[in-house]
Symmetry: C2
Subunit: 342 residues, 2 copies
DNA sequence: GACAGTTTTTAAAACGATACCAAAACGACT
DNA sequence: AGTCGTTTTGGTATCGTTTTAAAAACTGTC
């Protein structure tokens, strides 16, 4: 182990005071001669500033936190990547906490981040109470909430997708193609996004004068297994189309439909949400409402930076609602029906 | 903003000295009476220790760094998730740097992490020189190298997949099914994993007495586009099977094969590497060598923790080589040929 | 009730950087 | 050369915690 080299050794080596070294590091005015001496010493000793010490003194860590439920899910991966890229440009680093589907763990993760003196937090929420987030946000560590609302949020910025509208569009698409017995597999309804999507589905059915059948609504967790189970408990209702709340559910649904001897989309159409890329690859290619993950990440990062840089000003909290995009592929049967009509 | 509450305020509130508070925080011996007073004060003031200050004093950050080239890639997502889970159990946190495909950025990321006083680093390398990593590793910050070797690594622990053998098995599988004109789309050959896979391919061809044709070897970057381009410049050789170095390349290959009016696997079989899940979903389901991402992440984390906890002992560097697993699905045509034979 | 031995407690010195302030150096102009 | 104004420089306090070493408070024994 090389003995730790601090600013003091550098100062000695360069024959200057520590404050001069500090000034060089922070690009403040130093005579060219001394600057060169310092830079030379830094290189010679292979000195790296201790950011912990710097942050302790300046009370600025240049770290932002990102709390996500599942890092393997490329939706969150994309958010993380996009947010990280924005932050990096401003000299911030990203620390990611992977919490799973527990609100307490999300809260713990945020608390730890505060202890680590992060300058701000982005929370990909899975629902639950906003108390902890509110408190942290008040205590000078701005929080941006992503994807799901929390109960009783106060003055928190947020970046959401217009889930009601997304689900409405998707269901509407099915209605317009001519499906009449449209079922839905929702995510856990304690999540606002799941609830909102259900609302969009309901509204679309109503607007297209289709009877709503509560038994055509199945709540599931976001797994392939969940999709399969939902479908198998749904088949007796003879749906002609299914709205799945995300890709995993859609994949599970397709699998189970086929296992039961039916075809997608000929017997039952399937449409989904979420990830753009994967939907393209599966069989049949999935018609989806594509979530703008990159845009979400970027928007969240920018909102956060704005808060951090203007911490003394009181800006009213902002809610950004981003649109999802309908991507029509084969699984909804649109192109086939089109062929028949023409 | 609530004024920052420090250990001093807590001490005052509880009517004790700061060291007593510190002792409570660190579970050292304190009389029950004072302990209760301190805990009460902590709750009342909503005190959270400043980990920057603690780390500065103790010279232990309880943070590990993970450097990855692409967080959107679920292979790395899985590694990150698995490693994070192991570290969390030991009270460590994970800070992730997403660097893209540039070795300098990987080095920069590691340097920054050192500045941030991480206790250790896991590097999902993309090749290049080991100088920076060697230096950091010597300077008391252990590094575990993952997935790709670096040039001139000294005393670095590593976790690798047996790429030669993987590629060999995959190619062998194609040979045994009966393919004779087997092409390969490799990744960038400056990466050891890509080179090793090529080696495995070569050996398999040799062992099965197939002529090696250099023009059947195409180097590509790891993109869908890359896969398509490679195939289009390969078709004139009339391959009957293609080994693709990862999923993206495989998907691109399949797309291009179809665009050119051929069928997979009937006209040209395709097999790939990497991700287990996605391969299952695409059309046709992909025969792959599945990379044990979770195991890689866990192994790396454990190696790192071992180094961190035994920093004074000199343990010789370890290289863990994990096996990949052949998963046979439709894209290699095995089941079809089987049907024909039976 | 005093003494030795043990435990609990505290005040003060770190850790490595920056910020503040006063001293030193510089330059230009009488 | 002396004065004034500006820029550059270095000494020192400080950030919030742990650690160290020494004082204080117990404990039990004679």
């Amino acid at each position: 182990m090389a003995s730790k080299v601090t600013i003091i050794e550098v100062a000695k080596e360069a024959g200057v005071g520590t404050s001069t070294v500090s000034r060089v590091l922070n690009a403040q005015s130093v005579s060219n001669e001394k600057r060169q001496a310092v830079l030379h010493a830094i290189r010679k000793l292979n000195y790296r500033p201790n950011l912990m010490a710097r942050n302790l003194r300046t009370n600025v860590s240049k770290i932002c936190g990102l709390v996500i439920p599942d890092i393997c899910n490329s939706f969150f991966g994309q958010i993380a990547g996009a947010a990280g890229a924005i932050l990096e440009k401003q000299g911030y680093e990203l620390i990611i906490a992977n919490t799973g589907q527990k609100t307490e763990k999300q809260n713990d993760a945020m608390q730890t981040m505060v202890s680590r003196q992060v300058d701000g937090i982005m929370l990909c929420a899975i629902g639950g109470k906003a108390d902890v987030a509110n408190q942290i946000n008040k205590d000078d560590c701005p929080i941006v909430v992503i994807d799901n609302k929390l109960e009783r949020m106060e003055d928190l910025d947020s970046v959401m997708v217009d889930n009601v509208k997304s689900a409405y569009s998707l269901t509407e698409h099915l209605c317009m193609i001519g499906y009449r017995r449209i079922a839905i597999i929702t995510g856990p309804l304690e999540q606002s996004s799941a609830l909102e999507r259900l609302t969009g589905y309901r509204r679309a059915l109503a607007d297209y004068n289709l009877q709503l059948d509560e038994e055509m609504i199945k709540e599931a967790d976001f797994t392939i297994r969940g999709g399969r189970d939902a479908v198998s408990s749904l088949l007796y209702k003879k749906p002609d189309a299914i709205v799945a709340a995300n890709n995993h559910l859609a994949i599970g649904a397709i699998t189970e439909i086929r296992k039961s001897g039916f075809e997608v989309p000929d017997d039952i159409a399937v449409v989904g949400f979420d990830d753009t890329e994967v939907g393209e690859l599966i069989d049949p290619p999935l018609t989806i409402m594509s979530q703008p993950a990159v845009e979400i990440g970027e928007t969240a990062a920018r909102l956060l930076l704005h808060r951090i840089c203007n911490e003394n000003e009181t800006i009213p909290s902002q809610e950004r609602v981003l649109p999802a995009r309908l991507i029509v592929r084969s699984s909804c049967g649109f192109y086939k029906k089109l062929g028949q009509i023409v």
